[in-house]
Symmetry: C2
Subunit: 299 residues, 2 copies
Amino acid sequence: LGEFGTVTIVGVGLIGGSIGLALRARALASRVVGLGRDRERLARAQARGAVDDFSTDYEVALAGSSIVVVCTPVDCIAEDVARAARIVGPETLITDAGSTKQGIIERVVEDPESRVRYVGAHPIAGSERSGVDAARVDLFDGSVCVLTPVRSTEHRRTELAHAFWESLGCQVVSMTPMAHDEALAQMSHLPHVVAATLARSAPVASLAFGGGAFRDMTRVAAADPALWVSILLENRNAVLQSLDRFRLSLDEFRDLLHQADSERLAKWWRVANEQRGRFEQKIKPGRDLPPGSSFASNG
Amino acid sequence: LGEFGTVTIVGVGLIGGSIGLALRARALASRVVGLGRDRERLARAQARGAVDDFSTDYEVALAGSSIVVVCTPVDCIAEDVARAARIVGPETLITDAGSTKQGIIERVVEDPESRVRYVGAHPIAGSERSGVDAARVDLFDGSVCVLTPVRSTEHRRTELAHAFWESLGCQVVSMTPMAHDEALAQMSHLPHVVAATLARSAPVASLAFGGGAFRDMTRVAAADPALWVSILLENRNAVLQSLDRFRLSLDEFRDLLHQADSERLAKWWRVANEQRGRFEQKIKPGRDLPPGSSFASNG
């Protein structure tokens, strides 16, 4: 009980709040402290049971912290890691929940205080909603959390990060930051862009005729613009690549439809069926993770 | 009770089965008869409670029928309407549940026996699953059903079709076949194509990193290839137009991302937020239907 000691969560929104709820429900920390700029939001996080205490002051919120989890937008993470690294002791683990990794890590490794303490992480879970009111105690149950240790990362710190994210309900896997960003561009960032494009390209007069497909496919178009613009800019190259691959595949379909080639259209659709079937297999509990990724040993 | 007399459902799969379940649960028909080619499937529909009786013989299944609902694939509907029209009396209403309308109606109006009896309909409800096992008694609750009467359609027959679909839980609206097909290309057919493209364009090795967005956005990629190829070919021109509009919108986004124009990207995303918000308003019960469509009076 309380194995992780004092855990400070920087940014107690959907992700930070869900981490706090899970830590407290599972009694994994002796104390969960919220750190942020907005006292009112922090008080709401405390009222929801996501944190024991909170402060807007880095020194106060980080006092005695064994683990710091930075859950701020991706364009703030490296800076927030550096600020925390200046305050916490040399044994403290700093991890994050950013949806992109390469850009953040490039900035983190330039700072000696940051790089010895930091293990990049991305728990793949979320919602189109944001803020602590959308936080859920079970948000990470059965999700994959990618760790992206690099050469400067201490092995024992990676092991602690592994144990931490696993304790929250994640299946933990290690990858390079670049492999992470490419996979996420394809599997999350591109789908978000496509959802927004579908929503945008529908004439207002047609909206009433949307059924379940349109509803499900535009759900994440409701996501926060500032958060998503940060993610897309941070992962710009990989997103552009995924977008181009998607457009090629769409053009291939367009040609088949234009030619009214029913046989090849059916074959094209069957491949989509198969891929969807594979995906459903992958997301079952105990999912089979790809050979390019390795499970960090949990020492 | 039993106000619609004997109703025959041609093709008792997801849609036909759901119609049968709703008719029987609401005691709207004196008798519900299933008609199809496969006795085993028809027997399963009866076991599920979707039909009272069934037959593979048109003459038998259509004897005494007041309403015939053709729920076969879109490329079979006009022919099935014509076959039924030769058997049933002059007062019988023949309606359908096809996802496309213009091509079907062009074929129907060429046949005098068909055109006097037929009122085109499309209840906008469904699932990526097919077959009677996926049928649901509440499939049409709160859905929109589009009627597409044309010049040759008898007004009283349109009124009966309106009453029939409304009694199943649909909000009924009338449109021209072309307006229907354009709206559905944008709101249903394009999203299905995009879902299949997203599923296809993801490298197998990345599938394990898909979260909720990818899951929801590829759900309908599991839909039946034969059914969907028929729909896409039937509505080819409108789908190609929607696809081109979608690609333009996607290219606009690509340029903004390429230029890393954070301000305009945020604006772009906010429009998507707004459209999704509008859609959520539209799909609330008592939805506000577009001015281009009119409510058929329910006499």
